[in-house]
Subunit: 231 residues, 2 copies
């Protein structure tokens, strides 16, 4: 909540319960001072509004924050979600992309809506930290990102190249968009074909695969390290 | 399910619905041939037994698979859960530890029960792939792991040393147990004091922290790479 306000999201209304108003007095005062209407509501109304099991007693109505593809600037690292459907995975991925210093996250094709409540909560504020593109066509996104100089690398458990291969690591020093596929079926051949390279997070044990958000964190941090750390 | 059977877990009974019996005919035949009682049940009974929203129609009753601390062997990489409470996080962490080639996972202090249904499902079979220690005291676990030659490294977002620091990477080439704390409050000072070193996954963007399972995947893969890849 404070994230949204401090990060410049257009907060249009604040709903608050009496106990939450006491707990977050400074924030509520700041928001009211900014001319934003503050509505005190009962716990029952908050339960309905928040659509979550244990609401925090504070709920801000914000304007949408997503940007068009053309306005992502010149990022060195991008996460490109191709049909990521689970909101928890998508939100966690957005949070990891933010932590790894990504300059944008693109929700493409049939990916979940970044404004899905579970996705927003799992993002832990990151939805407001970096440019997010919603509802893009994957092919358009790949074209636009390539145009501004990014290599498109598909994360694919079946790829021949391993993320730990020193040559792969060397290629990750340049501007990179990581493409992540659906949690159940990954990236089908026609989407893999859009990428410049496919790379697998190596499986050293007996697991069949990694959880999507875990694999994405490993890939994004491999890029962050390759782009920053001189060997 | 097939994981449990093929990985040597003691399956004592199999419950199956009629449609699932047709879908998984080979598996059911193999299990019946092994002398394990197979019980055909209705969809309603399966719903009750499986305690999940969309049961797969097949449910095996297994013996516990966890082992005592003294029986983890000589692992080169261990994940040590200190008060990890969320079963989804714990199961995902177990899956990532398996993928990264860890030799054991220890659930210590007030960590969730590894047999929690959500944890088992999030582990995607990994519960049956590597030695799991349940209900250990953290101090005992640290002592036992140090005794067999592992360095104890605490994952702590506030630590002074970064995971991407080349000196930290060099130290990760040796046998290592990663200690992961609670998803909300991390590792308090008295638990950090048990470790040989504290290391932070660096935050390059504006996120306050990483999701626990995502951070754990990054740490465990940093160890896997350091132990295998010659620079």
């Amino acid at each position: 909540m404070a994230e949204a306000f401090h990060c410049g999201a257009r907060v249009t209304d604040l709903f608050v319960t009496v106990p939450a108003r006491s707990r977050h007095q400074d924030l509520v005062t700041t928001i009211a001072a900014a001319g934003i209407p503050v509505h005190v509501v009962s716990g029952e109304v908050m339960d309905e509004l928040a659509q979550t099991v244990t609401p925090q007693g504070l709920l801000a109505v914000c304007g949408f924050v997503d940007v068009p593809l053309a306005e992502v600037g010149q990022p060195g690292l991008v996460a490109l979600l191709a049909n990521v459907r689970d909101p928890g995975n998508a939100g966690t991925l957005l949070r990891s992309a933010d932590a790894a210093g990504a300059g944008a996250v693109v929700f493409a094709d049939a990916s979940v809506d970044p404004y899905n409540g579970k996705c927003v909560r799992a993002s832990a504020g990151s939805l407001f930290h970096l440019p997010v593109v919603a509802g893009a066509r994957l092919e358009d996104a790949v074209g636009a990102l390539r145009q501004i100089g990014l290599r498109i690398v598909a994360a694919d458990g079946r790829a021949g190249h391993s993320l730990d291969d020193p040559e792969v690591q060397a290629r990750l020093t340049g501007p990179t968009a990581w493409m992540f596929g659906n949690e159940a079926w990954g990236l089908p051949p026609e989407l893999l074909a859009l990428a410049d390279e496919s790379v697998a997070v190596p499986i050293y044990g007996r697991a069949e695969s990694l959880n999507l958000a875990a694999a994405a964190a490993v890939c994004l941090y491999a890029s962050a390290r390759a782009q920053r750390v001189r060997p």
